[in-house]
Amino acid sequence: MTDEHQWLQARFADIRPRALAALVRRFRDLELAQDCFATACVRALDKWPEEGLPNDPLAWLITVAGNAGIDTLRRQQRIAEKSMLLDQGSELLDDGIEDQLDNQVFRDDILRLLFICCHPDLSPQDQSALALRVVAGLSVAEIASAFLVKRKTMEQRITRAKHTVAKADVAFAPPDLEQRHRRLNTVMLMLYLQFNEGWSASGGNAVIKLPLCEEAIRLARLLLELFPGISELMGLLALFLLQHSRRKARVCDGNLIPLAEQDRSQWDQMQISEASALLDKALRHRTPGTYQIQAAIAAVHSHAATDDATDWEEIEKLYRALYLLEPTPVVKLNHASAVAQVAGPQAALDMLAPLSESLDSYRWFHTAKASFLMDLSQPAKAKSAYQQALELNPTPEERRFIDEKIRACEKSLNPL
């Protein structure tokens, strides 16, 4: 691909989710939809630079891809088995094509396509990998690199995932309200996990995994465009943007920098203000949800000029609200960290006691506990908590961090 065609590639990538959704509806076949979209893009590369962009590039690509798909089916003599579907799809080729290609038609198709990728038999990683391949159009090599696995491995995983979803029976009729809601929640969770996977990097691979975050942002944007009134979707996109706004500040010389120590002038203010705008909109709906609250927590940090200026009371309240909606030990642990800032380490430590069983194998539990104990001047107990964390497979970076803390404990035990 030459550089002069970059503008076309950007268009194709932008158009792809809508086109793929329409083609999958028509052919009910992910592989075929993907292949004929690729064929249509090759034809466009031939024509568009000379003849100029068609009036409606999306309609053009869908029409050409649809014809290519029929040709393939004819060649494979599968036309009979699919003929019923072709009849249904042919309405897309009518004169009124532009009117039909609006959000109303596409939104459920795109949601369905993403939902198909979220097959319950697939691991969250494989769900994301499939969505990235099919919907976002990333190459297998790009996906493999973002997930830090070999290309060959990723290729096999995606192929297996495609087989799994091909057997699934996802209704193609327009979903009812409840079904649509359920699909949206499933897809939002997939994007949330994908973003976290991309974000949970070490300093050395933070940049490599970033595409997972960027694609999650793109897909969240697309969904919000299609379903503009869903406040949790606004919250999800806001949460992504707020975290992503810190991407430059959180890595320095190959090390991850904790939030409190980041150079805030490097935070992306455009993303922060967009997230704030989304949260303002979401708030008007008065239907709080876990993504909105998490975004609100991130926003409190984003709006503090320095770490000392952080409004911990607000964060503590938000975690309390989050725990009401999502009463999990991990949320409680995070709440305890906020309580430590507001009410001191003893109050936080008291909150941890009931969690010691459920979070025993969670290393952040032990590091949080250790830091509260240190603040309470109990270095011996703190040291033993840090040692427990060391046994729970920390990354090399975390290990360095914990080792440092243990040395600090030892120093206060033996000041000489």
Partner: protein, 123 residues
């Protein structure tokens, strides 16, 4: 005559371009802004993504509280991405200025301004 230069395009395309091409596009804006600043007052805005927009629906009477709908005014493929307003002697001149922003990614609308307030009032 005061003119507005309205920039339409698909959202998210710019972000997909390589840094070099993004810089080329930004250079167009810097050039235009430099020329406009020499001529006098102008205004410009890059709009946030339409997902951040709300639309107030028409009401039964003037100045009634409107129903607020999430999303942009129209569900179109190309959106208003941003705009400039500036003083210009002729349409040809305005088109020449607009050409500083031309690219495969945007459609540019040049439209005269009937009335302007704020910093552009009385120009």
């Amino acid at each position: 005559m005061q003119y507005s230069l309205l920039i339409y395009g698909s959202e998210g395309i710019y972000e997909r371009l390589c840094e070099e091409e993004q810089q080329q596009i930004m250079q167009g804006h810097y050039d235009l802004q430099a020329v406009l600043a020499e001529r006098g007052e102008f205004s410009s805005a890059k709009l946030m993504s339409t997902t951040s927009a709300v639309t107030l629906q028409p009401t039964q009477a003037v100045a009634q509280p409107a129903l607020v709908k999430d999303g942009p005014f129209a569900e179109t493929k190309e959106r208003l991405l941003g705009f400039y307003t500036f003083e210009c002697d002729t349409l040809d001149d305005a088109i020449e200025l607009a050409n500083k922003l031309s690219s495969p990614y945007v459609r540019l609308e040049v439209r005269p301004v009937d009335w302007a307030g704020g910093v552009l009032a009385g120009l």
